[in-house]
Each structure stands twice: as C-alpha cells, then as structure tokens.
Symmetry: C2
C-alpha cells in the first residue's frame, strides 16, 4: 500500500489536484507587492460566479468558522434577536456564536436528517417578526441534508426585513447559488471543500442590504471587521497578511473550475450523490436524508445497528487507506458519512463503494460484494 | 532572468526552503484524524523552545494580527486601562486593537528609530499604576528596532501586576526569548518570518499568570477565544479547522531549526545584521536604529535625501528580481528596509548588498561599487 496514496472521502478537507499543489509551490511573494495585489484582486473577482453575485467576495485567512463569526459580529449587536435554522451540528454553531455576542438566538430545530422547509420557516417567522437576521446552513455536513435556500429566502423576503445569512461551507462551488437573485444577504464558504484547496481560507460575500447594516454596525472585532476588508479590497489588498500560497492555489483552482464550468460541476456532484445513494440502497443501508433534500457533496448513512460503523471505517483506513467520516455529536459512532466533493469523479465513487463493501465483509457484516458497485454503475452508465 | 527566482529580502514573508515546500505537498489529511492529531500535538510541543516556555503554544489559522487581537480580547475588558509601548507602526496596531474593544490605551511613544528603554517604561508605569496590561513589540519591523524585552519585563515585574504582552511576529525563532524566565505573559508570532513558512499561521503562548486572567475574562470572541484553543489542545486538536498543509510545513521547519540549533540561528542573524550595517555605513547610508537596539532580522536605512529610495527599490526589482521593503506610514517613500531573516545566509546578504550598489549606480546615485560588499565581507570573514 502506498502511504502517500491516502484517499480522502470525508466531507472536507478534500484532495488537492496536482496542478493546485504545483501552483502553491511558487516562491513566496510580498503580499504588499503590486504583483500580488493584481493576482489577489483578480482572484477575488473570479469567485463571484460561485456565489451568484455582483458584489465583491472577501478572502479571509481563517477557518469557515471565522467567516461565520464575521456574519454575526458585523451585522448584529448584543440584545438583537436572530432566528437560527438548526438542522444539525453546524446550524448549532451559528447559534453559539450569536449567544457569545449576547444576541438572542431563537432556534428553529428539526430532527437531524431533516431539512428546514419553507412552511416551517414561514410559521416560525410569523411568531418572531422582531428577528434582525435569519441564519441557515446550505449543506448540513453532519447529516448530509441540503436545505432549500432559494425557497427559504423567498419566505423571508415576503414577510421580513431580516438579513438572510447562509453557511455554504461544505457545498459552495458544487451547488447552484444565486445569492443576488434569491435575495440572500451573506454567503460564507471555506477553501477545503468544493474549492479543492487546503484548509486555511474562507470566502464571504454580502449584499447591498447587508452592507447598509454592516456600515452602521459598531462591531466588536478587529481581525474579523468586514469594513476593513471592504476598504482594503478597493486597494486590491487585505487589511491583514493573507495566506499567499493558498491564493496561488486558489487562482489555479479557479482555472480548473472554469474549464469544467459550474453547470457541469453541479451535474457531476448530483451524479455522484445519485450513485452513492443507489449503492447504499442496494446494500440495505439507510440514507439519513430523503431524496428531495439529499446533499450532492456528502451522503450520511445509518446502519441502524446492523453493523458497527466505526469498525467498518477502521477497516477501510487500515486495508484501503480510505478515510470516510463518522457521526458528530449524538450520532458519534452510529453513522458514517461519505464525502463526494471537489477533486472527485464518478469512478472515485465506485472505488469507495467497493472498498466499503469489502470492509463490511472483513468485519463480518453480511454483504453481497459488488451489489452496491453495480447499482452505482447503473446510475453512471445511464449518464455517459 | 529566471522569473521563478524571486529573491525576497523583505521582513516577511521570507523565502520557503525547498524541504518545507515539499513537506507542504503531502496529500491533504483529515484534520480530525488520529494521524493529524498526533502530528499537530507534537508540532505544537516543538515550538516551546523558541518561546522559552514550558507552557503550551497555540497555533492559530490567521495572520499575526489575529493573534495580537487574541492577546487583547482574552485579557482585557472595556474600560480597562493598558500601556502601549509605541516605537513604530506595529506598536500602534496594539493600541488600535485595544481601542476597538473600549480599552483605554495609554501610549508610551518614542520617535521612530528609537527603542523604549527600561528607564522610560519605569517612569511611565509610575504614573499609570492602574494599567492591567503592558503591550510591547519585540522587533519593530517598521523601524528595524529591537526593544529590550527582558529588561522591560524586569521593570514591569518590579512595580506592577500588569500582564506583559509581546508582539514577537518579526523576530521569534531568530532571537533569544525566555518568556518564563523573563516574566513575559503572552508572546505572539507569525509563520512567515523567522519560521520560514508561507503566511497563514500565528503562534501564541501564555503564562500561568496570564491564564488566571484569561480564565476569568468574558471575552467577546469566538474564533479568537483562547479558552477554546486550550480546551482543544488537551485533546491534541484545534477548536476550528486548522491550515493542514502549513502544519505539514511547520513540522519540517522545526526539523531544520533543530538541526542548526537556536543558539547558532541567533548568531547567524546577528552576523547578517552586522554585515548589513557595516555595508550601509561603508556606503554612507544612515542606519535608523542605533547599534544597541538594532534588530537582527531587518535593517532600516535612511538615505536622507541623498537618493530616491523608491527608485532604487524599483531598479532592484527590475534588474535583479530582488524585493526589499520601503517605509511605512510617514516614512513611506523615504526609507528602505532590508530583511535578513529565516532562509537567508550571510552569502545572501552579500548578494543583496551588491545588487543595491548596482541599483544605486543605475539610478545615477553616487556609489563606489563593491565598497559595501567589501565591508560586509570583512565582517563575515572574521567569523568563518
């Protein structure tokens, strides 16, 4: 087994394309040089289509959480009220950040594995007309659920002036996003998911509506002060030192994404979702998300006690060097999650399914070798 | 001229050693995997000697400024008073962060190019016994001055319970630092200076005294909440997604630093400082810092109108692909700064001096070619 051939099928970080690795190997460059500024400004500009926005996209050196916090601290003040749509672990993170800043967080919770529907949100907002912001998770990584952001935005825009702030960390770049057309106010994502980069960057865009709030906000933040990022981007730079080598990589990532084109990328991810789901069904493994809300970037599977998910994951790592994810919070040890995102093709999905089947066999779980692979092949072959 | 042979002689980012580039090329890894956790915990442990501490060192995905802000937001509260030793641009940054959080910042300012002496601090603190923290810059990158941190700490410890918080961004790893022995409470640095990594990481250590304050502090921070980093490091991990590829690089950097050994590294930087200063003197270019407080990582030079510093810098880039830094704030366009830090050897210093001489010739400034090089050679040869 090649020790450098680690196959990452977790929902981020995702594998780095060799071209991107090479781009990151460029010699270091002064981050205040004219050459870097030109690259930086152009790269930020090229991110806009993935957000579906005419607004500027800001690049933050930090994790996705740093940008989620930016979405909170720049728009709200202590005592403000917010609605948080909690469909899993990352929805809850928004609520925790709000509470840290003294924002009153009203949680609209759904059971893990379910989506927040427009109907639920409509009823919830009618009872909480005072909320100044609504926070949602586009793809809830912990459950493999994709919330219907366009429809949720429509509900909000119809009955409220609240800002709509969306965590799209584990899907942007692989899913449709029309921030401007849908009426979403802030979208946040990270570098290590569909953007195929190492961890370390986050991206954020804000609507004109959001900016009118941000400009008035007396935010208690320095590093995460969005106004400072806006001022600097006008000068083609960042307020604080950016992660230069990751920006080199991002420019190359954008080349790759532009070559395939967003519509084809979205379709590839839908295909990988459908293949994975067909395989799991063929293996009699329960899917956590229903078809209508199944994420295209990650599939959550619940063995419901038929086998030990952790033992299977360990066998997968030990025998095949493949990493998939386990459950989070109360689902720890109970479920497993397959990432199919970024630098991942339909053939890679066949590979991980085959390896899961063999790992099940190796831990003594009842499994028909090849049954999942065949079901996924049938989905794939219909598309080729 | 090779376009990929850019010679960075700015005070950060500094060039990346090829071994470190290669290490960063390792395939991406799940940041919650056992393998990464083991690497992360060991790497954090190996940072301790450069801080001179038995305390844990925290690794933050962010710029140096993010860690400076951590030093403020986790120790102080609105209405608290702090003393800020301002000897240049980066001292002023501490003051600005304090003021953002409603902390009353008392500035002890010295003219750019001078150090804050123990006597000055002693007198200042006698007038401000109420300050809860004293902020200082170890190496003030904007002026090339190294403040006498050990002596300043002694002054504080003798007459105050205030925390002593030090920005060592542009020197740690190249200078002596005995945080525990000196009685410094928080030391902060960045990845892109003496640590020879790309931009994107910051490191911070805090004393037991600091922790007793931090644990009581109701910090208005989430991403920059030090308590969360402490809790996670006990589990060999980070509270939020770390920049994995930079951690791969950091482990390799620590190999390189350990091979040379900190005492030899410190001496190499002192030698490069002495060479640079001898050369500038031979070229009749004024040095901003006096000998006693001259930084070993960056030398600030003031042509005092004898030639156009910006024209010289431009010639240096155009003809020789070498980047040196200009002045900041009111010194913009007036001075130039040579970085000699990290992956930089005495022979590299000869190279940049030779190129500066030729650039001076090319912009029509009076210069005796070789005079600076010879003076630097004489310093070097006495050490070989």
């Amino acid at each position: 087994m090649f020790t450098d051939k680690q196959i990452l099928r977790i929902p981020g970080p995702t594998p780095i394309p060799p071209r991107v690795q090479q781009a990151m190997n460029q010699p270091m460059m002064g981050h205040r040089s004219g050459k870097f500024s030109a690259l930086f400004a152009k790269t930020a500009e090229r991110l806009k289509p993935y957000f579906g926005t005419q607004q500027d996209v800001y690049i933050i050196t930090g994790s996705g959480t740093s940008a989620l916090e930016m979405g909170v601290v720049n728009t709200l003040a202590p005592g403000d009220e917010a609605a948080i749509l909690v469909s899993g672990n990352f929805g809850e993170r928004f609520a925790k950040i709000c509470e840290r800043y003294g924002v009153i967080a009203h949680r609209l919770e759904v059971p893990w594995g379910e989506a927040v529907t427009p109907e639920l949100l409509d009823a919830f907002l009618k009872e909480k007309p005072q909320v100044k912001a609504v926070f949602a998770t586009y793809c809830e990584t912990s459950t493999g659920v994709q919330n219907p952001i366009a429809e949720l935005a429509e509900v909000i825009r119809k009955q409220s002036d609240a800002l709509f702030i969306v965590d799209a960390v584990s899907c942007l770049g692989a899913v449709p996003c029309e921030m401007d057309a849908w009426g979403v106010d802030i979208v946040v994502t990270g570098s290590q998911k569909a953007f195929m980069l190492p961890t370390g960057l986050a991206f954020l865009a804000a609507s004109e509506r959001a900016w009118s709030v941000i400009e008035q906000n007396k935010s208690l933040a320095f590093y995460l002060d969005l106004k400072a990022y806006r001022k600097s981007l006008k000068d083609q730079t960042t307020p604080y030192t950016p992660a230069v080598s990751l920006i080199f990589g991002l420019a190359e990532v954008l080349d790759i994404l532009e070559e395939e084109g967003l519509p084809a990328i979205v379709k590839r991810h839908e295909l990988m979702r459908d293949m994975t789901r067909a395989a799991m069904r063929a293996l009699n493994i329960k899917l956590m998300a229903e078809d209508a809300y199944a994420a295209t970037t990650v599939t959550s599977c619940d063995p419901q006690g038929a086998f030990d998910a952790e033992a299977m994951r360990k066998a997968l790592t030990k025998h095949y060097n493949i990493s998939i994810a386990g459950g989070q919070q109360h689902l720890k040890g109970k479920i497993f999650r397959i990432g199919h995102m970024g630098y991942c093709e339909p053939l890679d999905v066949l590979q991980v399914i085959a390896a899961i089947e063999m790992s099940l066999h190796q831990i003594g779980a009842p499994v028909e070798l090849g049954a999942g692979v065949k079901a996924a092949q049938e989905v794939l072959i219909a598309h080729v």
